[in-house]
Amino acid sequence: MSTSGSPLVGGAHLPDADRTAPATAPPAAGGAGGGTGAESVPSPFASLGAGFDRALTRGLRRVTGSAVAPYQSAIVRIGFGLTWMLFLLREFPHRQELYGPNGPWGFDLAKRLLSSNHAFSVLMWSDSRGWFELVYAVAVVSSATLMLGYRTRTSSLLFMVGVLSLQNRSIFVGDGGDNVIHIMAIYLAFTRCGQVWSLDRRLAARRAARQHDTDAAADAGSDAGSDADSVAASESGTGPGSGVRSVRDGSGVDPVGIALWAVLGAALVAASAAGKLSTGWAVIFWLCWLGQALWWAVRRYAPGEPKTLMEVLGDIVHNGAMLVIVAEVCLIYSTAGWYKIQGSRWEDGTALYYPLHLDDFTPWPALSHALAGNDVMVMLITYGTVIVQVAFPFTLFNRRVKNVLLAGMMVEHASIAIVLGLPFFSLAMIAADAVFLPTGFLRWAGQEIGRAVRPRRTPAAAVIRPRTPDPAETLTPGQASGAAAEPAAGPTPPSTAVT
């Protein structure tokens, strides 16, 4: 189950280590109970040091060995990309009023507030309508490409810039959902969230397949071994981060990536020259930009140790960010739960009744009032909400209980979306919750969704196949073969696409 389970699996090592100690204890305790006194009782802590060492070694190997939780990071990426994109599209007709230079929270007011709190917003760089429209468009496009996992690293940075810029520009139109998106957008930028379920993944697989064909044609002998290895690795579904990596993977020139990198570099030069960036943000963006160039160069010219080193460093940062995401979700629920405990309405079991009578949160008054009219149901949901929110972080030590609570929370958020009229808040919370979904479930769901989508594609593919013998199509049967569909790409972690 090492790769299944929540990202907290790493954190579960300590309890594991503990368990080995008591296991040796009972016989010894029985002896002592017999009162012979001849045998000394082994200390229950005797194996603790060794156990701790083992756990530490395992933990270190895990955080330096691969980017953990590829499916969880992917579902969080997809969830937040989708939520923000849908929100921006929904508010498209209202974008000027919410974030535009001539909205009620005008450019002048935003400027006064931001000059005192120093929040980051590229919208404050110019009060022109064109600039605003450009930023809004980039925000929409980057949320779509993040969701699809296209040039994921760059998309996640642009996504963060879009989220921060729009939200900080008009901080007084947001709610809890915006707050979650804001924080997760920052965290996501540190993750390698495009390892699976991404276009990057598919493109890398396509490149690898093409490479494979070229190699086979050019030289039937020498490279066959390594390529066979990578194919074997991909077919056995070892997934991302598996040891076998083709030396040639992704070593193409990638003109699109270079062009994108040049454009963003020019933008960065312009912003820096105009003095628009604070020192902190300038350092972050320049490091990211240089890092991309270095990553591209390393893959192309130094595929040995330098590339491995960069991969390890990237994985360590990813793993740290995943830990922070997981802990953040726990903090959200803990805070929400523990503050509720202090409230008298949550204590007497009537709290739910009140939001169901707040005009701003009752788009379906008949439904809300019917629910509010059922006293027992109101009390059960009120208590259930507090219990689940307070208990959730502790259930992470038990997979089954955690999964039950997780399902409960997702259902509750889905209900909130409809009953309280908070669809984007709820979607964002569900996306955050999804970081705790078990890998087995995620892979199964991905496979079922893949199957549901596939039948519609097959006829088209059948028509195309005779005309264009694209090497990529050699991959299609493999991808259709179920569980191994997504990780089938094997050789290249997709977030490695140069951008």
Binding site: R90, P104, D108, R112, E305, V317
Partner: protein, 219 residues
């Protein structure tokens, strides 16, 4: 744990300088993650010994980008409906002035949201949060309590109302606007719907800058 049976650790195959780089990065990431989480914890937890001692450090780190508030409907849910209403004084073409009746702006938002599965932030949050911004930065006798933020909040609220009315009403030009907050407690469960009465908090008249473009406005 299968991970132990996998290929040997990638780090084991690296040269010493590379392994040092890995170790340094690992340490830096661990410290950064721990520091970040500690700061967020102190920020979201109730005011306590540590967060009081390190208030400056916590605030410097958290604001502006990591600010968060998860007291969702807590400690108690809001138990009253607040409607922002407004009326105007218009100057008629003949030179006379006229005071229009109160318009329930929040009520119009609510009507627009009804049976809409995707309510807009302009309807659900704009007025509601503008009012809480205003009431957080003013006392009940409408005196500013937060310096420039008070002024920002009243200007913001005035502009929202201005935009909703437009420049002319009843054939006259809007010259002044007055807002009030109508607060109606939600009746206790089991109590009759009309058992609570509405309280009004009336704000002073605000002059409308008739030349306003939204860009330049006297504060």
């Amino acid at each position: 744990m299968d991970s132990l049976e996998g290929p040997p650790s990638r780090v084991a195959g690296l040269s010493l300088p590379a392994r040092i780089a890995v170790a340094v990065t690992l340490g830096a990431v661990a410290v950064a993650a721990a520091y970040h989480l500690a700061m967020v914890f102190l920020h979201v937890a109730p005011s306590n010994t540590l967060s009081k001692q390190h208030a400056t450090a916590v605030n410097d780190y958290i604001y502006p980008e990591f600010e968060q508030n998860w007291k969702l409907f807590a400690p108690d849910p809001l138990q009253q409906n607040i409607h922002i209403q407004a009326r105007t004084e218009v100057r008629k073409p003949g030179g006379g002035t006229e005071t229009t009746g109160w318009v329930d702006l929040t009520g119009m938002d609510i009507a627009a949201m009804r049976h809409d599965p995707l309510p807009s932030h302009t309807q659900q949050n704009e007025l509601r949060r503008a009012w809480s911004f205003y009431s957080d930065t003013h006392d009940t006798s409408e005196k500013a309590t937060a310096g420039d933020r008070s002024d920002l909040s009243s200007t913001y609220l005035l502009r929202i109302i201005e935009r909703r009315f437009g420049p002319t009403i009843n054939g006259g030009q809007v010259v002044r606007i007055q807002a009030r907050a109508a607060t109606t407690p939600v009746p206790q469960p089991g109590a009759a719907a009309g058992s609570t009465s509405t309280q009004y908090r009336q704000l002073p008249w605000w002059a409308v800058d008739t030349a306003s473009t939204g860009q330049e406005k006297s504060s």
